[in-house]
């Protein structure tokens, strides 16, 4: 296998090197790639969509259809992980551990036996003991709101600066993942349950596709945001800008939900009780 792999790799490499010789020089402003289609995006983006960030306008408007399917790819990955890993029959673990909230005393309940103590004074612990790190917990707890705020900013400000729905959504998702990593999965699940993340992702893509379908219902082509001028103030050009914003919000929601969903499935092996 190793030799075969080496032969294939060298062969592919040789073919690619062979083609690279004919490439236009690196960074050449006069290469065909920079002359044929893309100048229009740069020159007309402000005029046609009122979005100065050309990447956002191309992403969500000129080639918005690609982006819709990109979000669908993420969504289907979420569903795929769920389908593959989620176990429905919950088997109680052999022993459970609890810590008393006030005293910090830890004790273990064996063989699925019930305990008669008031459970709200106790917190369940993971079966694999992880050190309780005060600094990490506190720092992350105070950091997370700011991370989330930043994520929202990135979504909202994608028109003017780098960023957009996708990046913002990943940051929002990462904040929940950070909560799970710094505390434990249970805390993260309390903040954002399984059902919430599983409904967030189709709902986000639905916002995207629904915006497109709305344009279609209003008599324009699919995803032609001009149609939204009938519903939103500011004329057809601003309607494009607003349409892009709507779509970015949808992408953000879908990506946030799915990232958290995939993480939960991978981290708890689909059991949703404990994990990373």
């Amino acid at each position: 296998m190793k030799t075969l792999g080496l032969i294939i790799v060298v062969l592919v490499g040789a073919v690619l090197v062979y083609a690279t010789v004919d490439f236009p020089p690196f960074g050449d402003p006069a290469s065909p790639a920079s002359l044929h289609v893309s100048p229009r995006y740069i020159e007309k983006t402000v005029e046609e969509t009122a979005v100065p960030n050309a990447v956002t306008s191309v992403l969500a408007d000129y080639r918005g259809f690609d982006t819709m399917f990109e979000t669908t790819v993420i969504f289907s990955a979420g569903v795929a992980c769920f389908l593959l890993l989620r176990v429905s029959r919950r088997r109680p673990p052999a022993s459970r551990q609890y810590r008393h909230r006030l005293t910090g005393l830890t004790f273990r309940v064996k063989d699925g036996r019930e305990i008669s103590l008031p459970l709200r004074d106790f917190e369940p612990l993971d079966s694999i003991w992880t050190p309780h790190d005060f600094i990490i917990e506190k720092v992350c707890r105070y950091l997370i709101p700011f991370i989330q705020l930043f994520g929202l900013y990135v979504i909202a400000h994608g028109h003017e600066s780098p960023g957009g729905g996708f990046q913002g959504g990943v940051i929002l998702g990462a904040s929940i993942i950070l909560l799970s990593v710094s505390h434990n999965l249970r805390t993260a699940l309390q903040r954002m349950g399984e059902k919430a993340s599983a409904l967030f992702s189709p709902f986000g893509v639905l916002i995207y596709a629904g915006t497109g379908a709305l344009c279609l219902v209003l008599g324009y082509n699919f995803l032609d945001y001009q149609a939204l001028a009938a519903l939103l103030p500011g004329g057809p050009i601003m309607a494009r800008s607003h349409g892009i914003f709507l779509v970015e919000v949808g992408v953000g929601m879908a990506v946030m939900g799915t990232m958290v969903w995939i993480f939960k499935n991978l981290a708890s092996l689909g059991r949703y009780d404990e994990g990373l």
């Binding site: 083609a19 236009p24 290469s31 044929h36 080639r63 399917f69 969504f75 795929a80």
Partner: protein
């Protein structure tokens, strides 16, 4: 409304998949009806689109309202209207048969299963309808990711086979993407027709040659063309029955379509057959694929696994027929996309019924099946006759065109391979019929046989038999209407340069 058909075709199942996913959480009983409604709607739209194209010629649709080289456009001509109809028909028929399997094997996961099912069909439909090279990649990945997950649902070795498929599929898709990038760097465009317009002055460029080669290798990897087929048999064998009867008929055929579309529309026939002159070599590769697929099928002792090798051989038919580069060869290849999708569906559905009743489809479980499951085996016979190429069924006609193409192109190796493979199919299927018909129920044909009371084997439920027989009758109907299909659709799809 009909001007929006190209978009609706993809949008309706896409929107429905979100609702199915939500329904999986809120109201699981709704999942199946929603999926049927979605694929039914897209089936109707695709048939409408086919009739529009037959009546009034190609249709194009601008997504987002942007003109083609800047925005993405959908381009429906005779070739892809036909393939669209086939994809939606197969997806729909198989969905109706899937219900019983899902109820039996994973009832609690119906929601995500149907979501992925509908998304898979959406991805394939989008791949066929699109006129943008990069958009094709994104949809290819949707079909691939949903396919990986669906295949990994199977028992036993399925996850390992699926992982293997993930690696090979990713290499294939990335090679395709790299090819698109190479075309982009020399032309600056992503729209297929626009690239075709810009390419002729660049025919001597090494970049275009390598783009062509690497794109073809990527597509061949995805379709399981012989030396690159290693992932295919395991993935299709260990997948759950409703999944293998979905993926096996559709994925390979759609990739064959993508190959034809790339060569005909993007690189143009002139370049692929004239400038590069690879056709002779590729037809010989196809000959090897056909022979190897048939021989490997002979060695198998499991009906489902045997069928996967037949799929490998059939891919060789279509690739070879297309690369013959003449009119009958092209007609045969396109007709075979239609016929083979239906034939494979019929056979895999029949095998799905056997697996449903017996638990597996190995040789040991075959004896006496004609008595216990007469309807299933009847449909299996029709499908098998079609694969062999017996006249009233459709398989005969596409093979006929392929043979004509081989004779016209003077390619007797391909001719011999076709005949050889038909002969092997006769051997393969008659062995199955013999075991199912002549060997008595209690024959000592396997160690596990007869212990658990084989009398419990009953015919599959009506919900699985009806789709199976609709497909089987479809095989004969398509065979009878071949003249119509060729005359009204495929004739217009053949590029003008082919004779």
């Amino acid at each position: 409304m009909s001007e929006h058909y190209p978009a609706l075709l993809v949008i309706l199942p896409l929107l429905a998949s979100f609702f199915i996913s939500a329904a999986g959480w809120l109201r699981p009983a709704c999942c199946f009806p929603l999926a049927v409604a979605a694929l039914g709607a897209s089936l109707l739209v695709s048939l409408g689109l086919l009739s529009i194209v037959i009546g009034g010629g190609p249709v194009s649709y601008r997504l987002g309202g942007w003109a083609p080289p800047w925005g993405i456009c959908y381009q429906v001509d005779h070739l892809n209207a036909l393939v669209l109809a086939v994809v939606s028909v197969v997806g729909f028929i198989n969905l109706t048969a899937a219900r019983t399997h899902v109820k039996k094997d994973f009832p609690e996961r119906a929601g995500p299963f149907y979501t992925l099912y509908v998304l898979f069909v959406t991805g394939l439909l989008g791949m066929v309808v699109t006129g943008d090279a990069f958009n094709l990649y994104v949809l290819l990945e949707i079909a691939a990711i949903t396919g990986y997950a669906l295949i990994a649902m199977g028992k036993g070795r399925a996850p390992l086979s699926s992982l293997n498929y993930i690696f090979m599929g990713t290499i294939g898709a990335c090679f395709y993407l790299l090819g698109v990038g190479y075309l982009y760097i020399v032309t600056g465009s992503l729209n297929m027709e626009d690239i075709a317009r810009l390419l002729p002055p660049l025919h001597g460029s090494k970049v275009v040659t390598v783009a062509f080669v690497i794109m073809m290798v990527g597509i061949w990897l995805k379709m399981g063309f012989f030396p690159l087929h290693a992932w295919l048999p395991n993935a299709y064998t260990y997948a759950p029955s409703p999944v293998s009867s979905l993926v096996a008929p559709l994925m390979t055929k759609v990739m064959v379509y993508v190959m034809i579309r790339m060569v005909v529309t993007v690189f143009t026939v002139d370049y692929a057959f004239g400038v590069l002159g690879l056709n002779e070599a590729v037809v010989w590769l196809a000959v090897i694929a056909i022979v190897a697929g048939s021989v490997l099928a002979l060695a198998e002792k499991d009906v489902k696994r045997m069928l996967t090798f037949i799929v490998v051989a059939e891919v060789g038919y279509m690739v070879g027929g297309f690369w013959l580069g003449n009119r009958p060869g092209f007609t045969g290849a396109v007709l075979h996309i239609v016929n083979d999708a239906l034939m494979t569906l019929c056979l895999f559905l029949a095998v799905g019924n056997i697996v449903y009743a017996k638990g597996n489809s190995r040789w040991e479980s075959l004896p006496g099946l004609f008595r216990t499951m007469p309807w299933t085996m009847g449909a299996l016979v029709v499908g098998a006759l079609s694969i062999i190429g017996v006249p009233p069924t459709c398989g005969f006609f596409s093979k006929w065109y392929l043979l004509l193409g081989a004779i016209q192109g003077g390619h007797y190796g391909f001719l011999a391979a076709l005949l050889f493979s038909s002969l092997v199919s006769v051997v393969l299927f008659f062995r199955i019929f013999e075991m199912g018909y002549f060997e008595p129920l209690g024959a000592p044909h396997g160690p596990t046989h007869g212990q658990d009371g084989t009398t419990t084997v009953r015919e599959a439920p009506l919900g699985m038999l009806a789709p199976l027989w609709i497909t089987a009758l479809g095989l004969i109907l398509v065979g009878l209407y071949t003249g119509q299909i060729v005359g009204r659709v495929i004739r217009h799809a053949v590029p003008a340069m082919m004779f």
